[in-house]
Symmetry: C2
Subunit: 319 residues, 2 copies
């Protein structure tokens, strides 16, 4: 059963891919087995993470980049991540109408992912979904985020190439965000480059970049685009290729891979640990009772957590 | 020692408050003891969480609201949360110059908090910092976020009153975000209300709100402000008071308190569990070695996590 879905994913069976990603989203019992089996088939494609302020035109940029790759006969996976909808669980981007040409192209796979309540794990689920597309042999997987929070940063920094999209002439808050995500950008795109203020934004960006030096010696590239007019897309794709090539050559990139892998292990561990401890240390409904005790101020949350953690025994590291 | 810092916090000693929040940020060993002791003193003030798209003018709004409270002789705590800076660890907002009158006012305490690497916990740390200010007797604690990601939503939804700030005439992505955070807004502020498109934004907001019904029966209020001109601030404060009053009366609010408490327990548990398991199940440097094995594709992260989790024993729930 697991073997057959794994084989079908590797031969890029769209239904098997969709089912595997749904299993990942729902944390189905066999998701982990599938991912283990797929792991040996990953690492061939290039994953490109794209983040930036809302309104920066990330979707158009992703669509046009995907079309560019298709013109080169590369297959493309697109994952649109929307962590902004904590309650409804609906992936807003799923409803957004992507370019018709993309949606009907068998060489393109589009999927949206949203957050799913308390136990979190969107970053983990997204990374796992990327692994499925990578194992399925998509040449390029584009991961597009809606917002610019910690989740998105976590997701984008696990990509092979991280892209930050800006637009000319945004306000102070955007400048703050720029400073915050500077460190994850391998490539900076100034989209809507027909707008006033493009020179100033580029100058500010250059001076921000000059202030920080990367440990791998890469100097982030800046590309101007007007996605809606399909301008600058080729240069954008070239910038991506040149960073991907640089990374392959780098000794230091092992450092970065290891950092990504460490995050991955921690993310997986955090989620599974919590689930196991909640399931095994508490009776059904007990968490709610404890929460009610806190809400009515009969108990404090700190001692409750200490009590639960007190039930956990960990085998000695030398054991 | 713990007793003395607790006493000093309760008598609003600024240095003790600052030290306690630093302990929380650094997860110092005695932070949990301090919080346990403070818990009985919390729940008196009103916490107001404020989120919204970058550029919506949240800082100005928070500053003007704080000045309004000061004119009523209420004491005010302000926590500015900036999860967008994963690497530098620096709180960008700490450097931002808040209004001079606020910064020099002994009745106002301002603190910024940023994220601190892999183990996460910004939401937990922020909630704990709010608890310190609440125990210190601040009448109103304002929690302001920079972005609109999951972290920010998690933080804002734990507040007594959740405020979402919009501005007229933003693009499609903003509309998506609006839909995503609709459910957490008790009050919606349309700031920069002098701008074109304010009517349209309000109409859209009303129709979005009409589509969803809240379980507590509250109809979210909409307030127009021009924070930079100090316009609409009084109405904003009145809206906050009326929701806070509504909440106090509600039977259903116990439901919400319990939900908040449950999140709180889960957050605390998640973080402490992960830390304990990493510390106790792995030898120093072992995580890095495992990460390197994944990076060089000798091992897959899923089996590593299974191995670590296999070392964890949980006492039976009936034990």
């Amino acid at each position: 059963m697991t073997a057959s879905i794994v084989d079908r994913i590797i031969s890029r069976d769209l239904r098997a891919i969709a089912r595997a990603i749904s299993k990942i989203e729902n944390d189905a019992p066999d998701a982990s087995e599938i991912l283990k089996a797929l792991f040996a088939h990953t690492g061939k494609g290039v994953t490109i993470g794209i983040t930036g302020a809302p309104g920066a035109g990330k979707s158009s940029l992703v669509d046009k980049l995907a079309m560019h790759y298709r013109a080169q006969r590369k297959t493309v996976g697109i994952i649109a991540v929307d962590p902004s909808s904590p309650f409804s669980g609906g992936a807003i981007l799923g409803d957004r109408i992507r370019m018709q040409t993309l949606a009907n192209d068998p060489g393109v796979y589009i999927r949206s992912m949203a957050t799913r309540g308390n136990l979190g794990g969107l970053a983990r689920a997204t990374v796992d979904a990327v692994a499925v597309l990578d194992a399925a042999g998509y040449d390029r997987t584009l991961v597009e985020t809606v917002g610019v929070g910690q989740d998105e940063v976590d997701i984008v920094k696990t990509a092979d190439v991280s892209v930050v999209v800006l637009v000319p002439g945004m306000g102070d808050d955007i400048q703050a965000i720029k400073a915050g995500i500077m460190e994850i950008g391998d490539i900076f795109v100034i989209n809507k480059a027909e707008r006033d203020g493009v020179e100033r934004t580029e100058r500010e960006l250059i001076s921000l970049l000059e202030m920080s030096e990367r440990s791998d010696g890469w100097h982030p590239l800046i590309v101007r685009t007007i996605a809606t007019q399909n301008k600058g897309i080729e240069q954008f794709a070239e910038a991506i290729d040149s960073y991907a090539a640089f990374r392959k050559d780098q000794k230091t990139s092992l450092e970065r891979f290891a950092g990504v892998a460490e995050n991955r292990i921690i993310e997986l561990l955090r989620e599974r640990l919590l689930r196991r401890v909640l399931n095994e240390s508490l009776a059904p409904g007990e968490l709610r009772e404890l929460a009610l005790a806190v809400a009515t101020r009969q108990r404090d949350p700190y001692s409750i957590v200490e009590e639960i953690i007190g039930k956990v025994q960990i085998e000695n590291r030398h054991g």
